[in-house]
Structures are given as structure tokens and as C-alpha cells.
């Protein structure tokens, strides 16, 4: 279970880097999205990629609007992916 979680974290980190157009080596979970110059338009690209790769539709809600760091985003994305999986099997 823990390996799976680490894998998805790494995948998500790469996804954020790719869609946010920043070098993956510049990103740490503690990085603030603002400092990486990831803006609202990049967010939309990241959410689109999450839909493509994990099949989850994430609309912008209060939780997402409070995301500040890469880790915040990863945690939320993981939760939404889990939620999406649950919905799919429900």
C-alpha cells in the first residue's frame, strides 16, 4: 500500500511539473505554487491531466482554492482520486 502511495506521489509530482511547465528537479513538496509561478491557468491544465490519467473530474472548490504548496495539491489530488475510485465502484 505504501509503495503504491509513493508511486502515485511521484507520478503526480511529474504531472504537476509537466503541466505547470516547471523543471521537476525544481519542485519539492514544500514548494509554494506561487513561487514556482504556477497560476490559475496552469491549474486548469493540471486538472485536465488528472482527468485524462486518473479519470477524476475535479471542479474548483473551496479546498482547491486554499491549496498553497505542491504537497497541498498532491494531498488533495490523491484524496480526489480515491474519492473518484470509490464513486466508480459504488
Amino acid at each position: 500500500m505504501s509503495t503504491e502511495k509513493t508511486d502515485i506521489s511521484q507520478e503526480l509530482l511529474e504531472l504537476v511539473a509537466r503541466e505547470g511547465m516547471v523543471d521537476v528537479s525544481d519542485i519539492t513538496p514544500e514548494s509554494r505554487l506561487e513561487d514556482l509561478d504556477i497560476q490559475s491557468a496552469d491549474f486548469v491544465m493540471i486538472l485536465m491531466a488528472l482527468e485524462e490519467e486518473y479519470g477524476v473530474y475535479i471542479s474548483v472548490d473551496n479546498e482547491l482554492s486554499e491549496v498553497q504548496t505542491v504537497q497541498d495539491l498532491l494531498t488533495l489530488a490523491q484524496a480526489k482520486i480515491e474519492e473518484g475510485k470509490k464513486d466508480a465502484t459504488a
Binding site: 491549474f43 486548469v44 479519470g55 473530474y57 471542479s59 474548483v60 472548490d61 473551496n62
Partner: protein, 403 residues
């Protein structure tokens, strides 16, 4: 100073054909949102919209269908006919002294979508030869002009979600300036088609759940469609023909953020409302109802609340503010017109329609938007706001007509 009055209203929406159907639905909180599915969308993520029922679409096609009219023009015609009938305008009331200002966000979206699909996917060269005049944004306004013989100035503002409000505002300014005696004004939208729906999904501002404006758990809007058209006249012309006056349009303002394409700016929205108040010569305290833009996206509702607080101050708690979008959906280019009509009805009936689907107050917002149940109001003035993508704000102020 020329005063501008309203003598007719017409609406078509997911709530049904006619203003009565719209008003009954918003007051009772009966949502017109229904399941929608688009043939060419394989993995549709959002499954609902405030779409017209199939039966209503059929009735519209029967009454105003035409091979040169996209549904957007049909909707505008249905709304215009109702408004004209209520205003009791006769043949001689049109002509050069009557303008038409009807906006749309997407214009003939169905025609565009169908023809791109035929061209790009089906690879046919046999497209609709009438596609150009059906798609153009001014088609709805032009059909209303041709149908009625209103041959004065014709405009078709395409300013996204502010199109309908700006149309009514522009018509008001034309009448005030003496350019026309009356105007058919409003907005029309019929963009619930696969391609358009998918790009709204991609923008992530639509909810896959329910539209819950101002509620803490809101996570997006629900699209709608339809049209709203009003008859605006100078007080003098309305009185000269013995028209029944519904209310007065006393103030209008519009401005632009000159900032972000998508993110609204609370200071500019507040500035817009203040300018409308000053145009009307009213102070904020005299406004008892506000029909908010209230899309139910996280950003809009926070911004709009900030703007409302800066205009109404501590008094905001005494103002009934609601969003009726969960009922008729966000009808984009028609939204401002449909909501202006809801605002006029609220003023006439002295009832604030509720914001339905409301679950919990958001601490970032901190007010109750007439949640879930209509509330009586006692006021002579009501405001309707639109805050559009592209940073375009528009505020309309209506007042009870007291001679």
C-alpha cells in the same frame, strides 16, 4: 431628463415558456436543472444542465422554427413575442423609433457545432449553406427586428455573462439620449451542445454535483439556456399610448476590470454597483433586493460578496441577496436578461426568491443568501448584477413605478 420604464417582459428557460413559469419556479425553488447527455461526448463528466425540456423545444420549433434560424434566434423570438404582447405594442409602435438590443455569448452554437462535426468528423463538404447567417452573433437580434419591423438602431453585445445586462443597459441609454423612443432588449443563449459543453468542463467551473451559490460546499456552476427580452420605453411614449407600466429602470452602469480574463475583481464590481446607484440618484440603503450574479464558483461568490460588502457596508445583512441560478441555470448571454426579469418580478411582488441548494454558510462569505425559502421584502428598489469573463461588470437598478 428622460425617464425609462418597462412595459413588457418575456422569458424562455429550463423552467418553461413564459415569465410566469420562470417566476413560479424561482419563487418555489423548483429547479429546471435536468440530466443532459451529448452524443459525441464519450466520458461526460458533468451530467446536468438547465436545458429546455424536449417538449418545450418542440413547441418552440413548431411556433418559430425556420431553416435559417438557429435555436438561439428562436428563443429570442419567443421571448420577444411575449414581451410585445404584454406591452400591447401595435404595428405603429415599431419603425425607426424602436431599437433592438439583444446580445448573445455564443450565437448560433448548435449550427457551428453541427457543421464542424460534419466537416471535421464526417468529412462531408455538404454543410449547411445557411450556417453563416445562423451562427453570427447578431442573428437573434436581427430576426427580432425583421419579425417586428423595429428598424431603429440594432446592437448585439457579446460580452459573455454580461451580454444580457449590457443589452438592457445600452437600450436604456439609447432611450435616455433620445436616440429612440423604445427598445426591445435582452439576451439569448442556446449553447448546450457537445463541443461547448466539453470546453466548459475543461475550464473546471461546472459542478458535477449541484449548483450551490454562496454555500460553503459550492464547487461550480450549472449551465443554462434560454432568452429574456424586455420592452423599454421613454415614460412619455409609454404614457402617450396608455401603456401599463411595470416598473422603472432608474440606473445602469458597466465597467471593465482591465485585469484578469477570468478572475473577477471585487473593487471594480463594487465601483460598477456604486456608479449604477449614482446614475439612479439612490443610496445603497434604499435597495432592498439584489439578484446576485452568484454563479456558485468559489471565486465568483467570494469576490461578489466583497463587492457587495463594500457597497452596502454593515447594511448588507438587511438586504435580501439571492442567486436564482440553481433554478434557471447560468444562461450566459441570456443570464443578465433572465435575471433582470426575475428582479423586476421580485420588486413587483415584493418577494425575494431563494438561493436553493444552500447547505452551510461559508465563513469567507458570511451571509445568508435568502437560503432555500423565499422571503417577503419591503422595498422600492432592486438591483441585478452580472460579472462576466473578460472582466466586464454590469449593474441594473429597477424601481417601483409611482407616477
Amino acid at each position: 431628463m428622460t425617464r425609462v420604464v418597462l412595459t413588457g417582459t418575456g422569458a424562455i428557460s429550463a423552467c418553461g415558456l413564459g415569465v410566469d413559469a420562470l417566476w413560479a419556479s424561482v419563487v418555489e425553488g423548483q429547479s429546471g436543472v435536468r440530466a443532459v447527455s451529448f452524443e459525441r461526448l464519450e466520458n461526460q463528466r458533468v451530467g446536468t444542465a438547465a436545458a429546455l425540456s424536449d417538449a418545450d423545444k418542440e413547441r418552440v420549433a413548431q411556433s418559430v422554427g425556420h431553416r435559417m434560424r438557429d435555436p438561439v434566434a428562436q428563443y429570442a423570438l419567443v421571448a420577444a413575442h411575449e414581451a410585445i404582447a404584454q406591452a400591447k405594442l401595435g404595428e405603429d409602435d415599431f419603425g425607426d423609433r424602436c431599437g433592438v438590443v439583444i446580445g448573445s455569448g455564443f450565437g448560433g452554437a448548435k449550427t457551428l457545432d453541427d457543421n464542424y462535426m460534419a466537416f471535421g468528423v464526417d468529412k462531408t463538404m455538404r454543410l449547411d449553406p445557411m450556417a453563416v447567417p445562423k451562427i453570427m452573433n447578431n442573428a437573434a437580434a436581427s430576426w427580432v427586428s425583421m419579425d417586428t419591423g423595429a428598424s431603429g438602431p440594432l446592437y448585439s453585445p457579446s460580452t459573455a455573462c454580461s451580454s444580457g445586462s449590457q443589452s438592457i443597459g445600452l437600450a436604456y441609454q439609447l432611450i435616455k439620449a433620445g436616440a429612440v423612443d423604445r427598445c426591445l432588449a435582452g439576451g439569448a443563449e442556446a449553447s448546450l451542445v457537445g463541443g461547448v459543453f466539453r470546453v466548459w468542463e475543461l475550464l473546471r467551473v461546472m459542478t458535477a454535483d449541484k449548483n450551490r451559490p454562496f454555500s460553503k460546499d459550492r464547487n461550480g456552476m450549472t449551465l443554462g439556456e434560454g432568452a429574456g427580452v424586455v420592452v423599454l420605453e421613454s415614460l412619455e411614449s409609454a404614457q402617450a399610448r396608455g401603456a401599463h407600466i411595470l416598473c422603472e429602470l432608474v440606473g445602469y452602469a458597466t465597467n471593465s476590470d482591465a485585469g484578469d480574463l477570468l478572475r473577477p475583481n471585487p473593487d471594480r464590481a463594487a465601483n460598477c454597483m456604486q456608479m449604477a446607484l449614482s446614475d439612479a440618484g439612490l443610496d445603497a440603503a434604499s435597495v432592498g433586493y439584489v439578484n446576485a450574479h452568484g454563479t456558485g464558483t468559489v471565486a465568483n461568490d467570494v469576490t461578489e460578496t466583497k463587492a457587495l460588502r463594500s457597497v452596502f457596508g454593515e447594511d448588507l445583512d438587511g438586504v435580501a441577496v439571492s442567486s436564482t441560478k440553481p433554478v434557471h441555470g447560468h444562461a450566459l448571454g441570456a443570464a443578465g436578461a433572465i435575471e433582470a426579469i426575475v428582479t423586476i418580478k421580485a420588486l413587483m411582488h415584493q418577494i425575494a426568491p431563494p438561493t436553493i441548494n444552500f447547505n452551510e454558510m461559508d465563513p469567507k462569505i458570511g451571509f445568508d443568501p435568502v437560503s432555500n425559502k423565499a422571503r417577503p421584502i419591503q422595498t422600492k428598489a432592486a438591483m441585478s448584477n452580472s460579472l462576466a469573463f473578460g472582466g466586464i461588470n454590469a449593474s441594473l437598478l429597477f424601481k417601483s413605478f409611482d407616477g
